[in-house]
Amino acid sequence: MDNQASPGINTYNDVRFVGSLGTIIIKCKDFRIIQLDIPGMEECLNIASSIEALSTLDSITLMYPFFYRPMFEVIEDGWHSFLPEQEFELYSSATSEWRLSYVNKEFAVCPSYPPIVTVPKSIDDEALRKVATFRHGGRFPVLSYYHKKNGMVIMRSGQPLTGTNGRRCKEDEKLINATLRAGKRGYIIDTRSLNVAQQARAKGGGFEQEAHYPQWRRIHKSIERYHILQESLIKLVEACNDQTHNMDRWLSKLEASNWLTHIKEILTAACLAAQCIDREGASILIHGTEGTDSTLQVTSLAQIILEPRSRTIRGFEALIEREWLQAGHPFQQRCAQSAYCNTKQKWEAPVFLLFLDCVWQILRQFPCSFEFNENFLIMLFEHAYASQFGTFLGNNESERCKLKLQQKTMSLWSWVNQPGELSKFTNPLFEANNLVIWPSVAPQSLPLWEGIFLRWNRSSKYLDEAYEEMVNIIEYNKELQAKVNILRRQLAELETENGMQESP
């Protein structure tokens, strides 16, 4: 039990009494609903209040990861598995146009960035500091992905702070132009609609004016954020939990949740980004408002589409580390309550879950191109919301540093990357596919992720058994092939032996 992810409990517990029999309904962050019937009113109330107290802790440092003692031997410390320097190594052989910058070492330039970021070589730290003042949250454009095939890049940032009077920043223009090859043009993908982007100017934000960025073409691809996503999740989970719905009601609830619309939007934007890189041979800069939510969805999914490595287990872990944790997706704020919250949480939003769902959609369309299986994605979802590991605590690297997570808690990767655990998450069908994989984004091709949303509402016994059977067939195949090879070798040996005996 200890090594299992324990389902996080929401603050919302329903306690009811019939006579002296008390019933506690516990709604978990993984959408499970548990009902406990407890005889004795007092006992029931005690249990309820204990659960209540334990599931709503004031301080992060009182949370499970700080008390968790692993029952396994740590072979490889996950905190050091994916260091930015190592990740940079992967590019540096292919290009010399980029460098690592330590300008944010003290988190002074941008509080939500990691200490080490990758920037164009020709831009010095001083310029970066200036650019940071021109970008939302200090999030100056940094390298997100380098496409080795043609040298094109994905960069991400916060929105430019142009404001109503059209402020500009020469360093910013210089920085992003530095990423373009001579005569080439690039695309800026704004994850807000033009309207929203224009409105942002009133609050000091804004978007890149064509006049100031003549080599860049701006594309608006609207992706929803915050409470709209959260409401969508709440509606969807509600619809999935009600088994009495007739067909029409179910379909209309599913539609009204808009969940799959969001999936389609996000995937479409990611495909667009990937297409710019791979088909158009153009570099791109992606941002929304802060550059911590929809921006990351798009950059990370585009990498899944473009980069075979990110479809391996290690590569995907590195992607999450790089594009979500280091990039400053505020997990603490976004994944606090999950679908059953009775109070409106301003910052709550299933941004990461949507990303995982999108990955699942691509996985479904290319079931042999991923080293991991659905369980891996489900596991990540569970740990993002509630975990005994420190990986997803805090909102950014700076907070994680202050909490001393590396010293005080265990990394999720230390546990996952043990061979015994990995086997559960490995896709038996995996065969490395070095191509770019283009998913279909037609509604007919985007089903509901049953493994997450219907997980507790129906038996998956027969499906699991079928999966087992499939694994067995594959294992048996491997076994037979190995045996044939051994026998063949034996035969060959016998033949040469005979030949030797014969020759003298």
Partner: protein
Amino acid sequence: MQPSDDVSPTPEPQASWTPLLRARRAALKWAQKSVPGVRGVAGCGPSAQKWPGPRDFLACGQVHKRRPRILMREGGTWGRARAAAPEARYRAVGRADTPRAAGTVKWEVRKRTGTCTREGEMWRGTHISRVEQVKLLDRFSTSNKSLTGTLYLTATHLLFIDSHQKETWILHHHIASVEKLALTTSGCPLVIQCKNFRTVHFIVPRERDCHDIYNSLLQLSKQAKYEDLYAFSYNPKQNDSERLQGWQLIDLAEEYKRMGVPNSHWQLSDANRDYKICETYPRELYVPRIASKPIIVGSSKFRSKGRFPVLSYYHQDKEAAICRCSQPLSGFSARCLEDEHLLQAISKANPVNRYMYVMDTRPKLNAMANRAAGKGYENEDNYSNIRFQFVGIENIHVMRSSLQKLLEVNGTKGLSVNDFYSGLESSGWLRHIKAVMDAAIFLAKAITVENASVLVHCSDGWDRTSQVCSLGSLLLDSYYRTIKGFMVLIEKDWISFGHKFSERCGHLDGDPKEVSPVFTQFLECVWHLTEQFPQAFEFSEAFLLQIHEHIHSCQFGNFLGNCQKEREELKLKEKTYSLWPFLLEDQKKYLNPLYSSKSHRFTVLEPNTISFNFKFWRNMYHQFDRTLHPRQSVFNIIMNMNEQNEQLEKDIKDLESKIKQRKNKQTDGILTKELLHSVHPESPTLKTSLCFKEQTLLPVNDALRTIEGSSLADNRYSEYAEEFSKSEPAVVSLEYGVARMTC
């Protein structure tokens, strides 16, 4: 304009057919590369080395590929030699001609046009055979992506060969509708919708050509007489005894014996031996032993179309029966003692449980409305020991328009998620599927839980009744979940009991109000079951899709006609072939690799019918829209692996015996040069296994990874490599920096 008298074949090569030859060669080259046994790539289509036998047609998932007779006119002149081109290409590969077919084609079409009597005249103005520079639009692309190619009209198919020499074959019988849209700058758009849910959108450069094609297709796709259907000219090169054997493959008497009938409660009745009591029932009917002939006759007079209660399925363990009939002619108060007796006889035939269920599969309102027309439903007061139940499946008209709405929605370009789901909802399609499924579950439960016999009817007892009886039997009896068993089930509950296939599928030019996707719904219910119970079925989705293809293809005799009597009159067994032996011969392709026959857990299936279990069947309704499907098929890989495993097991045995042999020889110590020499060149295991390895690895790695799940039709396998590396449709297209979305 000089009309040519005929399109008789001349073998000498002509300039005009070089593209066809090239296509052939390309396809041949490819076919040689590909591995036999892998989803029927070899021997596929007209490009195969040998004359394509029926096996090959099935192998490509194509209903056709009978030698196409291409009838051509170019520039207003009927070029004799040009017309012969396709013939010539078959000649070139040493194929025998079939004179009968040639004659038939000429004659048939003449009859169809019906305007001219003199040979040669007939084509003028009505039938074109070849149009060049035709564009085939991508159905879902909003950027008007298209392929340019040549459109041919053959006696049986419409053929489009694009510039990549990819062939798209459309059987005339599959064409459900042809629509000419308003002229555009690039030409005249022609939209063809097929009964197998293929939709093609052509743009023909000249309006006159388009009009001609339109008229030709209208005529060719709608036949007035059975004799003009494909099945009557289809010749898979079998002799008469083979054909007859094919027809005898499914023996219903044998099937009733398997169920344990006749027995002490049930017997074969000869009442309908000459179709005297009921024209739409089969000759052989099983009824309760205690039901005398007068009772049967009396009851049949009280039932719509004379379809009195008879046995459909007998559950041996429970000794309970599924019976079927049509609605009683009860009106508001009429009753019939014989009918009441017959129902009582049915409940008495069940020794365990004295009461029986009567399931009226219609909505209550419809059943009540029928009373005004002198029909209606059983009055519980008049029948002893019955429990009456409505299950509310809508009628054929509701189903037809529901499917129509569904197809409208999912054919929309740039469909949004919300429009898709609200369309799915308003079409009601999944609601209807659920209703059929729920009814079947009710039936199965009555038998397994209550041990009660059930009598099922709707109005005439050949649509909803067939759905519910067959699906109920499928839930109860694992035999029907095997390939052979499923054929038996269709033969029993659908074909023999007179589901009006020809009317429901619109085989002939008839009343469009009689067309309805009743059988398609049945297949969809089965598909839903295979989704919930992935290991319970011997066959895979491909089998269902193939059967669906053939209920409309009119290539085989099984589904022609509306009842057994009509089929006998058409002499189908003498003039046409049965589909089943061809499917059975090819069963490898339809096997479910995960099927576990041994486990008895699956004797009775208890599906979950909470709404969220019902999903849109993409592989059926978008069969031909390959861009919508997963690019890699787990199913195919596993299937291949299973096959490979068998081969490997054999290899291991061979190798082991070889090694044993060697060791023996070694210990004997007698090794002569001759022996060695005789062994060396022989060692076949090594050789075979080596090339085997190369072969099997190829499909696993490339072919199967790249094709989508359900590619049953046409020879699209040929371009897998190229398609995959091109990685498919620009999900998004960028033009002048403006992003435009396509899906």
